[in-house]
Every structure is written in structure tokens, then in C-alpha cells.
């Protein structure tokens, strides 16, 4: 393997190892045997069903990571992916349950609705930034609260749940024509969990993201604004338009985050619908350094950890919260490891230059 490739791969690998060491220590302190615990996790983690679930849950993480990364690319900190996807999934579920359309159209309508809502909710922050100078971190946090709180209170209010009953209230289910086909045939069709087909959409989004950012004029303008807003402005990039554009693009993708679950499994929005994917996306984007492929690695890693760790509780080794610690340590050490690798790369390049010049003499 070439040295460059190594330098690109070493940081995530090193931080993974480091994270496991730290977690082992934590496990040991909490009274569990880390070898047994991790042994169980790995043994369970490579089972086909776990891998299927890993892919399923990496899909929303990936979409969320891409949504965050689009903002990052132009120095916008879109913390609002959380609220954007919750609201989008909720409204898309509502719309989907009311529609009566043939399969492809039905699914498309739900997807478009979700993207539109995500874009609107994110665009609102962009609009506030350019017209009222409200920082996007503030506005997206506020909009998160409004979206999440609003959805929850709507659900509670409509069904007027008495305090003592289960909180599993839901909207009307989406009819089968609005389900995204599964890919079970790929894994032999006999796993306990379905392999959600939405992963294909995530792949398309990833490829589109890569080309949009690196190869299109719009992507260039976004990156230029992120790198140097004054220079971008002088080069003809309209700063306000670009901010709104980036937020809208980010929101379009954020709107998709809840759909793997909605279209592949739950087929309705309930209080049990997964939350927190928007915040996880920030970590995933960070690990992936905003690169389409890197985000995929981050999403798969986090997806796998969250699925494989379930066994810890089942076997009574440790609470699954230990995974939160592992993820936290990974994020921190990845950031540090990347900067160390960067320094090392510079030193190596300088040595190479020196050697080349030495030969000349």
C-alpha cells in the first residue's frame, strides 16, 4: 500500500484502536471483563442479521452526515438536521397515509414531500441569516425545538394519552403502495430484519453530493464562500443567495434522514420514531471530513457500533451506553489523529524534497 493511502487510513484506524482501549478500561472499571464483552460484540456483530441492521441504520446516519457536510463546506453549522428530518418524516408520514397512488408514485410523493419540508425548514434558517443576520446555530437550535416539540405535542394532543398508558401513539399507517421495496433477496431472504432498500437512495445522494461539491459551478461557489467569503464575493458569488442555497440543499438531504425507517419499517410516525440522527450526523460528517466516501465510513462505523452493542445488555456484560462513550472517544481521537497525520505528512514531504535535492548535488 502506498504511503499516502496509509496516511489517509491511519488516523481513523488508530483512533478506533484507541477508542477500544479507553472503552476497555471503562468496562473494566465498571466491573465487566472487556475481553468477554468485546468478544461478544464481535461475535454478534458479524452475524448476517446484525450486518443487515448495520446497513439499515447506517443509511439515515449517512444522509444526516451528508446534510451536515453540505453546510460545513461553506462554514454553515447546520445543527438543525434533527428538527428538519423529524418534521419532514412526520409530515411525509401524514401525507403518505392520506394518499392513494400506485406504488412508484406513492413512494416518490412521500420522498418529495419530505425533501420539501426539510428544505423549507432549513431554508428558513438561511433566510433569517441573510435578512435578519440571525446566526444559523441559534436559529436551527430554535427550529429544532419547535419541530421536535411540536411533533411530540401534536401526537400527544391528538390522542390525548392518559399518563399511565403506553406512549406508542401513531398516525394512520401508510398503505403498502407507499413502502420502499426491501432488498432481502441480496442476503438470501431469511434474515430476521429486512434489508431496507432506501440504502440505494443514500448511495445516489452520496454520488450526487460528491459531484455537486467538487465538479459543479454551484459546488465551487459554495466551497469558495466557505473558504473566503470576501474573495468569493469579489469573484461574483452572491453571498446571500449562496447561504440560502446551501441551507436549502442541506435541508433537502436532511428531509430524507427519517425515510429509511418510515418507508422500510415503521410505515407510520409514532412517538417511538428514532430521534437523535441529526446530531449523530454532525459526528459522522466530522469523522468523514465532509468527503462522500469518508462520511460513509463514519456512518457504517457508528451504525455497526449501535447495532452490535445491543448484545452487551442482552448478555448482561454492560449497559449499552458504553457505546456512547466509544463513539465520543472516536470522535475526539479522530480529530486529533487527523491533525497529527497532517503534520507527519508535511515532515515526510520535506524529507523527500531534501533527499531529491541531495541527489542533485
Amino acid at each position: 500500500m502506498s504511503k499516502d493511502r496509509w496516511l489517509a487510513l491511519a488516523p481513523p484506524i488508530a483512533s478506533l484502536v484507541f477508542a477500544f482501549v479507553v472503552s476497555s478500561i471503562v468496562l473494566a472499571i465498571s466491573g465487566a471483563n472487556p475481553f468477554v464483552a468485546f468478544g461478544n460484540v464481535f461475535e454478534y456483530g458479524v452475524r448476517l442479521n446484525t450486518l443487515v441492521e448495520t446497513i439499515n441504520w447506517s443509511t439515515p446516519l449517512y444522509l444526516s452526515g451528508v446534510a451536515v457536510a453540505i453546510g460545513f463546506r461553506m462554514n454553515l453549522f447546520n445543527i438543525g438536521v434533527e428538527g428538519q428530518y423529524v418534521l419532514a418524516a412526520f409530515i411525509a408520514a401524514q401525507v403518505g397515509s392520506q394518499l392513494d397512488l400506485p406504488p412508484v408514485l406513492h413512494v416518490s410523493a412521500i420522498i418529495l414531500t419530505a425533501m420539501l419540508i426539510g428544505a423549507l425548514w432549513a431554508g428558513l434558517s438561511g433566510w433569517m441569516k441573510v435578512t435578519r443576520n440571525v446566526h444559523e446555530v441559534i436559529s436551527t437550535i430554535m427550529l429544532n425545538s419547535i419541530a421536535v416539540g411540536g411533533v411530540v405535542s401534536y401526537l400527544l394532543g391528538v390522542w390525548d394519552v392518559p399518563d399511565d398508558t403506553s406512549l406508542d401513539t401513531a398516525l394512520a399507517p401508510i398503505p403498502e403502495s407507499g413502502w420502499f421495496p426491501d432488498l432481502n433477496f441480496l442476503v438470501g431472504g431469511n434474515t430476521r430484519s429486512d434489508l431496507w432498500g432506501f440504502v440505494l437512495v443514500a448511495v445516489v445522494v452520496g454520488v450526487a453530493y460528491h459531484y455537486l461539491i467538487n465538479r459543479t459551478r454551484l459546488g465551487y461557489d459554495l466551497r469558495a464562500s466557505g473558504a473566503n467569503a470576501s474573495a468569493a464575493e469579489a469573484s461574483g458569488v452572491d453571498p446571500k443567495r449562496t447561504v440560502v442555497m446551501a441551507m436549502v440543499l442541506s435541508g433537502l438531504v436532511a428531509g430524507l434522514v427519517g425515510l429509511p425507517e418510515l418507508l422500510g419499517d415503521s410505515h407510520t410516525y409514532s412517538l417511538r420514531f428514532t430521534q437523535g440522527l441529526g446530531f449523530a450526523g454532525i459526528a459522522v460528517a466530522l469523522i468523514g471530513r465532509n468527503h462522500a466516501a469518508g462520511i460513509a465510513v463514519g456512518a457504517l462505523l457508528f451504525g455497526w457500533l449501535s447495532r452490535a452493542s445491543g448484545i452487551l445488555e442482552v448478555r448482561g456484560d454492560a449497559p449499552r451506553e458504553i457505546v456512547a462513550i466509544i463513539q465520543g472517544v472516536i470522535i475526539l481521537s479522530v480529530v486529533i489523529a487527523y491533525s497529527i497525520a497532517e503534520r507527519y505528512r508535511r515532515i515526510e514531504a520535506a524529507k523527500a524534497a531534501a533527499a531529491a535535492i541531495g541527489e542533485e548535488r
Binding site: 465538479r215 469558495a224 469579489a234 520535506a350 524534497a353
Partner: protein
């Protein structure tokens, strides 16, 4: 003989693909003004950053006031009494002058910053050295000359006895240069040692006690100003003679390419209001605008570019009214732009050169493919052409812009704007920070652009450059064009008098 203030021996520093310093020796006596000269990319800034603890030498030793030192950070250099003002200023834009100056050295009582004491101290430091600044002004609103004074006070505030000034005069007009030199002499009398970098050889000869010349990372000579002429210095630096800017035969046509009429732009506390009745540029003409920085030049340029919007008046490009057009539409219609501040307006420092080579032209040929796409291959090709034609010293087209020396960054920008097919070029300080050899090449390129029928607005602090290149000269004072002069019969001295308002148009 007392210990030298600074002694560097065998200092070597390598970067990917280049050796910036190669066994450099430098001896700076205590209490002298020592000039460091050399072509772009010779390694001057790098050497000074090493002395200031910002970068670490790969080899060599450093002795400051007789004691061997090994700095791991600027903090350690500051403790040793060394201060540096960078080629590209390093002030926090959204902080006030006061906050910037005390940043990192806050005078505090019980952990609370004592702003009043700091303000007094700054004003006394300022008064003592004749450095005039307003402590509560936001730095983003300052002109370059003022920013520089802030940087110098900042360094003095930290108690520096050895001052490093990296190209301090590059951003100043002659009057300001004289003032800076007065300050430098004052500092010298107080016992400070000053090392400064400069590309303008007559300035070097005027102020320096000793001159060291670097070339391709090596020390080639240390001389006394009495013993050399500007020609000798130029030869030492680049092996060429000193160029003079001179226009060749007039190529002015009567086709108007740019016309600004009755322009009225609102000002603020920090921005100059504009009142420009008529500025016309013909094809094949270089129109020079002379003026002390901060008299509305930046505002005028931004209005022509479309970043700033006038309350009244019009901007016409090739006969079309573009007053309400966007920046992009104007650039596409043929306005090229060499910004006065390359880092602020001209470059994406972390992006590779090829991406920088399309900045400002990203929506035009040859950088666009099938409408929506950019074309990296065409951009790399264009970058190679610029590197070749403008002698940009770089290991390749994929290195980030920040890896280039200041002058080479400037050459990249100049090359980008001169190779584009624009009809009007706004060139603000095009040779700022460029060494004497490359300067001649840029002048020649400007002349050939003029021959090719472009209309050029030239803004420069270098009065000889202005007089030598322009077909017509305007003087800008407090937001208006106050005089129109014929460059053929005006001297730099007279021009200077117009610029300060000491002399008025008849």
C-alpha cells in the same frame, strides 16, 4: 564589540518540494536597521518566521543578544524581546484596535482585563513613537496603513526590542513611507534593533545600516548602503538590472470601455462617501488613480465591481448601463480585478492553485464544461500557462496557495487576471510585494494588455509606477477625483502634493 542582536548560522528549512532556506547566515548588530532583500520566494519571510519562533528550522543555530536560543513558539520569541509584523497582517477583524493590541498580553487586575490602563498605555506608546491609532475602532474598518501601525504598536506593547517588519512599505504611499521611516529611526534611537524586508531598493538604501541579500534560499551578500547602488543590489538579487516603468507610444482609442458618471455612494464612519462626476476609460488606455490610501479608492473599485451600490449615478461598460447588475454579470461582461489585498479578496488560501486560477472566472470559458460543470483539467492547464508566463515559483498546480511566497501569490493573481479575456481591468497595486525582476515583467504584461485594447484602471502607491504606466492620471481625495494630470509633465513630488491636498487643480 557588543554581542550582535541576532546571529543566525547555517539555518536550513525545507518545505515539500522546495528548500526555503539553505544554510543561511545572518548577523544583525544591536541597534541597527538591517534590510533583508531578495527575489520572491528567496526565503526572507521563512527566515524571519524561524527567528520569531513560528516555524522550526531543520538545521542551524540562533543566537539572540549573545545567548543561544531555540524557540518553539512566538511566545518564547516575544519573551526574548523579538516582535514581528507580518507581510500579511494577522489582526482579528471583528475586534477593536485596543482588543487586538492587548490580545494575548492583557493587562489584568485579579483576572479582570483592565481596559482603561491598556488604553492609556497604548496611547502613550503611540504618542511616544508618533504612531497614531484610535483604540476603539474596529480593525475591519481600518485601512492598511492604519492596520500596520496597530501591528507595530502591538509588538512594542509586548516590550519587543528587536522588531521584524516583513515588507512594511509594500502597502504604503510615499508620505506614509516617510512617516514609517521617521518612526523607525526614532525606534532605533531608543535602542531598538529593526530587521525589515523590502523590495524597493531606493528605500532600502535610504534607511538601512546594513543590507543582506538572499537568493534562492542562500545568503549571497551582506553590504553597506554606502558601498552599493540600487543597480548593484538588483544584480545581487536577481542578476538583472533595475527596470523602470515607461509607457511606450500611446495606444489610446476613442472607444469608451468604462464610464462612471455622477456617482454618489453613501459613506459611514469608516467608509468614504464617493462623489465622482466622471471617470472614463478608453480601449487601449491606462488611467492611473493616485491618492493616499483611504480616500475612496477601495469604495470606487467596489462600486465598479458591483459589491457596493450607489445612491445615484451610473456605471457603463462598453456602452451598457450595468449599474444594477450583479458582480457576476459584470465579471462575465468583461471586468477583471487585481485586488489590493490578495489574501482578503484574491485567494482561497487552502485551495489548490488550479482552483485559485479560476476564481472570478469560474462561470466562464475555459473553466466551464457543458454549462453546469467546472473543468479541472482546463483549469490545471490554464494554471500551468500562468505559472510559465508569469514565472510563478511553485512545485506544481495542486499545492495550496498558502504554500507560495507572498510575491508568488501576487504573480498568480496578476497572471490570472491578465490572461483572462476581459475588456476592463481594475488593477489595484498590481506589483505589490513583487520583486524587481518580476515587476518589469508585470509592467510589460500591463502594457501589452493595453496594446491589445483593454482599458485599465491602475491604482498604485508606487508613484513612479503610476506616472510611468498611465496615459492619464486622476488624483483621488476624500472620495472625489480632484485633479486630472498628464503623467508626462508631473513629478512624483508634485503628484504627492496633489494627493495630500497641499496643491490643488487649477
Amino acid at each position: 564589540m557588543p554581542d550582535p542582536a541576532v546571529l543566525l548560522e547555517g539555518v536550513t528549512k525545507r518545505f515539500p518540494g522546495v528548500v526555503a532556506n539553505d544554510q543561511v547566515n545572518l548577523r544583525v548588530e544591536s541597534g541597527e536597521i538591517h534590510a533583508l532583500c531578495g527575489e520572491n520566494g528567496a526565503g526572507k519571510s521563512t527566515l524571519m518566521k524561524i527567528l520569531y519562533g513560528m516555524q522550526k528550522a531543520d538545521e542551524g543555530r540562533m543566537v539572540v543578544n549573545g545567548a543561544e536560543v531555540d524557540f518553539d513558539s512566538p511566545t518564547e520569541a516575544i519573551d526574548a524581546g523579538i516582535g514581528m509584523v507580518h507581510q500579511h497582517f494577522m489582526l482579528a477583524d471583528n475586534f477593536t484596535v485596543l482588543e487586538n493590541i492587548i490580545l494575548g498580553a492583557e493587562p489584568a487586575t485579579n483576572g479582570v482585563i483592565d481596559f482603561d490602563e491598556a488604553r492609556d498605555h497604548i496611547q502613550s506608546v503611540g504618542r511616544e513613537y508618533g504612531l497614531d491609532v484610535h483604540p476603539d475602532e474596529l480593525v475591519e474598518h481600518l485601512e492598511v496603513g492604519e492596520r500596520q501601525r496597530v501591528e507595530i504598536i502591538k509588538v512594542l506593547f509586548r516590550g519587543a526590542k528587536i522588531l521584524i517588519l516583513d515588507e512594511p512599505t509594500a502597502v504604503l504611499v510615499p508620505q506614509e513611507v516617510e512617516e514609517l521611516f521617521r518612526n523607525m529611526r526614532g525606534l532605533k534611537e531608543e535602542g531598538h534593533t529593526i530587521i525589515f524586508i523590502d523590495h524597493k531598493l531606493d528605500e532600502v538604501l535610504e534607511i538601512a545600516d546594513t543590507i543582506t541579500v538572499l537568493r534562492r534560499g542562500k545568503t549571497v551578500a551582506t553590504v553597506k548602503p554606502e558601498d552599493v547602488t540600487a543597480h548593484d543590489l538588483a544584480e545581487l538579487m536577481v542578476g538583472e538590472d533595475l527596470p523602470v516603468p515607461e509607457t511606450s507610444a500611446s495606444t489610446v482609442t476613442d472607444e469608451v470601455v468604462l464610464r462612471v458618471r455622477d456617482l454618489d455612494v453613501e459613506g459611514s464612519d469608516t467608509e468614504v462617501a464617493l462623489d465622482v462626476s466622471d471617470l472614463t476609460v478608453h480601449a487601449g488606455e491606462i488611467v492611473g488613480i493616485a491618492g493616499v490610501e483611504g480616500n475612496g479608492q477601495a469604495e470606487l473599485v467596489e462600486t465598479i465591481l458591483g459589491i457596493r451600490h450607489p445612491v445615484a449615478g451610473s456605471v457603463e461598460l462598453l456602452g451598457d448601463d450595468i449599474t444594477s447588475g450583479s458582480v457576476r454579470s459584470r465579471r462575465e461582461a468583461g471586468i477583471g480585478y487585481i485586488p489590493e489585498d490578495r489574501h482578503r479578496r484574491g485567494l482561497l488560501l487552502d485551495a489548490p492553485l488550479w482552483e485559485n486560477a479560476m476564481l472570478g472566472h469560474q462561470s466562464m470559458n475555459p473553466f466551464v464544461k457543458n454549462g453546469w460543470w467546472i473543468d479541472p483539467e482546463a483549469a490545471r492547464k490554464a494554471t500551468e500557462d500562468i505559472i510559465e508566463r508569469f514565472d510563478v515559483r511553485t512545485p506544481g498546480t495542486d499545492v495550496p496557495a498558502h504554500a507560495l511566497s507572498g510575491g508568488n501569490q501576487q504573480k498568480l493573481i496578476v497572471g490570472r487576471e491578465l490572461s483572462a479575456e476581459s475588456r476592463v481591468l481594475i488593477a489595484a497595486h498590481p506589483t505589490r510585494g513583487i520583486d524587481v525582476g518580476a515587476q518589469a515583467a508585470v509592467w510589460e504584461e500591463l502594457r501589452s494588455a493595453r496594446r491589445a485594447g483593454k482599458g485599465i484602471i491602475l491604482i498604485s502607491a508606487d508613484l513612479e509606477e503610476l506616472i510611468g504606466l498611465s496615459d492619464r492620471l486622476h488624483v483621488m481625495l476624500r472620495g472625489s477625483l480632484v485633479a486630472e494630470l498628464d503623467p508626462n509633465d508631473v513629478t512624483p513630488r508634485e503628484l504627492g502634493a496633489y494627493m495630500t491636498g497641499a496643491k490643488e487643480a487649477v
